[in-house]
Every structure is written in structure tokens, then in C-alpha cells.
Symmetry: C2
Subunit: 214 residues, 2 copies
DNA sequence: TCACTTTTGTTAAATAGTTCACAATCTAAT
DNA sequence: ATTAGATTGTGAACTATTTAACAAAAGTGA
């Protein structure tokens, strides 16, 4: 259906477009130009027009984009029409925060169950999500699960990912500070907060030095 | 000191290199070649050599890189010699997880205080970090603080960032799902988990479709 | 209806990032 | 010492992404 030649950089901006359009529709804004949208998102308006152009002509010349139409289009493109089921592995500090955070609000995604090794946690619920024993993962059939959120200690991330993969899960959102080594049919996105913090510190110190020396 | 022409993409890989070298040094590995390092990080070895080359000749031909030397070099380059003080704003689910997570472990960064508006939280401590009232932020002098971690509800992220900026903080790690609009002397990095999750779902569904149609 | 303003969609140019290919040079082993 | 092998550092080629420029089309208001 959708064009297969959508650049990676474009695809990664679609969720941001979608979320912003949801907000615009909610506040009753029915149309927006690429330049106003760009100002809002701090993205060049040409980039926005180019991004949309990969999917055909979504706007109208002299008018701009219909927010509702564009939002509906992106909802389908991002598969937000169907509910995506995900599991969470490792119900510690971060995992608990994610379970409490309801991704379902304006995001058709549900954490349907969680896994942990801690006997004190197994069998309990966090915010309505049941916690199962990690060794059940080995025998569970999770082929209806889109992705696993990995919030286990770094030393166990690789083994946890392998178990999830064996149970039929191919997508991973990895919060552990390690590179996962998985076969090519798995797809991993890595949210690495330590890297983000260090990169922030690097750029801050560098821009300061530049300002001082100029 | 360091080359000002380091590409953004290179700079963003440095923390990953640094962390991996810490691990290698810990396990007693004294040398590594760019190709072995690349296999470990799933990065092309040429990219790694190019990255290092922006800082001069850090390796030895026919030998590779000395892990200790390279780690020390990156520690200085990433300003990890000095302790970076940060504050956290919004001690909710995610903020509490971040406070409990000790970034100091192998990361010379400390969350020195937190701010919140909830009277029940103000005055208490989480994992040794004191929580102050948000209105104190207005009068505090935070010019010795490198960055603020923003974990407030999305509706308050912009105002919280502006208050932090007024108190002397120029760096932001924003976890709220909104684009912050700040003057150009501020620097923001955005960790957007909703976007990550939707992007993951998009890429998973797309690679499946491609496999089915080929 | 007409004039003129707005704004898209797109081609082309510019910039950024990655990978190739290989000479230079160091290591290691005998 | 010599040599075979390893591995860096780097121009050049390639690929990806962003930005500029503008014709074409549609909107707006007299
Ligand atoms: N907490 C944060 O704010 C934060 C920030 C950045 C990165 N991280 C990373 O996220 C991961 C989780 O951090 P955390 O602070 O929540 O840790 P945590 O120790 O609080 O929680 C880890 C949880 O995983 C469970 N666990 C341990 N081994 C397991 C296994 N083999 N299989 C399944 N579950 C297992 C534990 O029982 C525990 O509930 C870590 O890799 C950490 O580096 C966390
Ligand atoms: N929890 C998660 O796992 C998660 C995941 C993705 C994104 N986020 C984002 O992170 C942010 C925080 O999420 P959360 O789940 O921790 O929310 P939360 O509601 O648990 O916590 C928010 C905290 O901020 C405080 N607060 C409210 N207004 C404030 C203000 N003006 N100034 C200072 N503090 C204020 C509240 O008292 C509360 O302690 C949200 O923007 C959320 O969208 C959270």
C-alpha cells in the first residue's frame, strides 16, 4: 500500500507529525500550512512538504493541509488503526514507570503483560498489568505480540531478548545500555538515556567553548 | 582543544564508544581493532576509524587501539573528568525511576536536587535527592547546574523549561512529548518514547509487508 | 470574472554521513 | 634483521538528507 521508498528519516518523523495533528484537531484547528507546521515542530517547511510528498499529494495548493484528513492518513500509515500488543520485561524502577504510563491514551498500543524473575513480583499486578514468571516466556506463544519493551538489568538484556524472540516476538524497544545481538529478522530500537545525557553534556560544553573562543 | 569540526553523528557515537571501552578495560582487554570494535557495536569499522580520526591519530597501524588510552581520551573529550550537576523537574513515575537509577555509577553526573509542585513530595527525599518546591526555582541560582531533566506532565513542560532557563540552566533532557520553544542559547535533547514505540511499530509492519510481497 | 496572493509539489543544489579501497606503516614471528 | 600479516588513516565515491528555488495550481476578495 504505502510507498516502500520512504526514507528512514522521514518515517521517524511521522509519529511526531501524527501526535501534533491529534493536538491540532482537538483544539479545533482544521487547516495548517507547511510553514506554520514547521514553526511548531522546529522543522524546515520544505522537509515537511517533501516528507508528505512520498505518500502522494496530501495537501492543496494555496490552502495547506486539512488536519483531520492528514491525521487520518497518518493513523493508517502508522498502523494506529489496529491495537498493537506489547509485553514488558523487567518490572523494576523504569519498567514500573512505563506500566503506570498509559501508552494507550492517544497511542493505540497496550502493554498486555509483563515478565520478571523476582518471586515477590510474579503474580502481582502493576496498573492492571499482570506480571508473569520469566520462565513462562519460554513456553508462551507470543506470536500475536508486536514488540517487547526491555527494562531488565544490562547483564540480562541479551538473554531476555533471545527468550522473547524464541516466543515469537520480533520487535524490541531496548532501554538497557547494551547493544543487542539478534538475527536479522529482529528489529531493535535503542533508547539509551546515558548516551543522551553524555551527548547533551558534550554539546553544551562544546558550544560554550566555541562561544568563548570566537 | 578538541576539533570543532567533529560531525554531529560522530559526537553522538562517542558516549557509546566510551561506555564500551569502560567495559573492555574492566574485563582486562588491553587492545582492540576497529573491526572487532565495530562487530561489538554493530557499526562499520570504517565509520569507527573515521570518527577517531577527527581527533588525530589515536591508534597504531598493525596493532589497533589501546583501550585504556582511548578510554582516557574519550573521558576528557566527553568532559567526564569533571562532575556534571543536573537537576530533575517533576518527581512522578518516570522522575522517580530516574532518581533511583544512579547515573553516577560509570557516568560522572549527579542529580543534585529535584523540583515538584506536589506539596506531599516537597521536602521529602528520593534515593538521597531532596525535592524542592517549584516556586523556589524562580529564585534559585542554578548557574552551576549543567542541565535539567524534564519529567513533568506535557502541559507544564514549556513553563518548567522557561523557569529553569531563567535560573541559569541552559541544557535540557526533555522526556515530555512536546517540542520546547526556547531561545537559541538553550540546548535541548528530546527523549520521546511514544515516538520510539510508534516508529518501531511502523518499521516492523513495513518490513513484514515487504517480505510478504517479495 | 479577474487580479493577485498563498502554498503546494518537485527538480536541482547543497550538505552530511557512510563505505570503499588502498598506501603507509606498524607488529609479530622466525 | 627480514618478512608476512595486520590494521590504521584517509582521499574518493557513494548514499542519504536537507534546503533552495520556483512553476503550477488553487484560494481569496474585489
Ligand atoms: N531507572 C532508570 O531511570 C533507568 C535509566 C536509564 C537506563 N535504565 C536501564 O533500564 C534497565 C532497568 O533499569 P531499572 O532501574 O528499572 O532497574 P531495576 O533493577 O529497578 O529493575 C530491573 C528489574 O528486572 C528484573 N530482572 C532481573 N533480571 C531479570 C531477568 N533475567 N529477566 C526478567 N527480569 C529480570 C528485576 O527483578 C527487576 O524487577 C537497566 O538496564 C538500566 O540500565 C534505567
Ligand atoms: N512514565 C513513563 O514511563 C513515561 C513514558 C513516556 C513519556 N513520559 C512523559 O514523562 C512525563 C512525566 O511522566 P510521568 O509518568 O512521570 O508523570 P507523573 O504524572 O507520574 O509525574 C509528573 C510529576 O510532575 C509533577 N508536576 C506537575 N506539574 C508540575 C510543574 N508545573 N512543575 C514541576 N512539577 C510538576 C507532578 O506533581 C508529578 O510528580 C510526561 O510528560 C510523560 O508524558 C513518561
Amino acid at each position: 500500500m504505502a510507498n516502500q521508498n520512504v526514507p528512514q528519516a522521514t518515517a521517524e518523523r511521522l509519529p511526531l507529525y501524527y501526535r501534533t495533528l491529534q493536538r491540532l484537531v482537538t483544539i479545533g484547528k482544521t487547516r495548517i500550512s507547511s510553514s506554520e507546521f514547521g514553526d511548531l515542530l522546529q522543522i524546515d517547511s520544505t522537509t515537511i512538504r517533501k516528507d508528505f510528498s512520498y505518500f502522494g499529494a496530501l495537501g492543496r495548493k494555496g490552502y495547506g493541509y486539512d488536519t483531520q484528513y492528514l491525521m487520518d492518513f497518518l493513523r493508517k500509515t502508522l498502523y494506529q488503526d489496529e491495537l498493537s500488543k506489547v509485553v514488558l520485561i523487567g518490572v523494576g524502577h523504569l519498567g514500573t514507570a512505563l506500566l503506570n504510563h498509559n501508552f494507550q491514551k492517544n497511542n493505540n498500543t497496550k502493554i498486555v503483560k509483563a515478565y520478571d524473575v523476582d518471586p515477590k513480583k510474579i503474580g502481582t499486578e502493576v496498573s492492571g498489568t499482570k506480571i508473569y514468571a520469566m520462565n513462562e516466556l519460554a513456553t508462551d506463544d507470543n506470536s500475536d505480540i508486536t514488540a517487547a519493551i526491555l527494562t531488565v538489568p544490562v547483564a540480562h538484556a541479551q538473554e531476555a531478548a533471545e527468550m522473547a524472540l524464541a516466543s515469537g516476538i520480533h520487535g524490541f524497544l531496548n532501554f538497557s545500555p547494551t547493544v543487542l545481538s539478534l538475527p536479522s529478522h529482529a528489529y531493535v530500537r535503542h533508547v539509551d538515556m546515558t548516551v543522551e545525557l553524555q551527548a547533551l553534556i558534550y554539546f553544551l560544553n562544546h558550544s560554550m567553548e566555541e562561544r568563548n573562543s570566537d
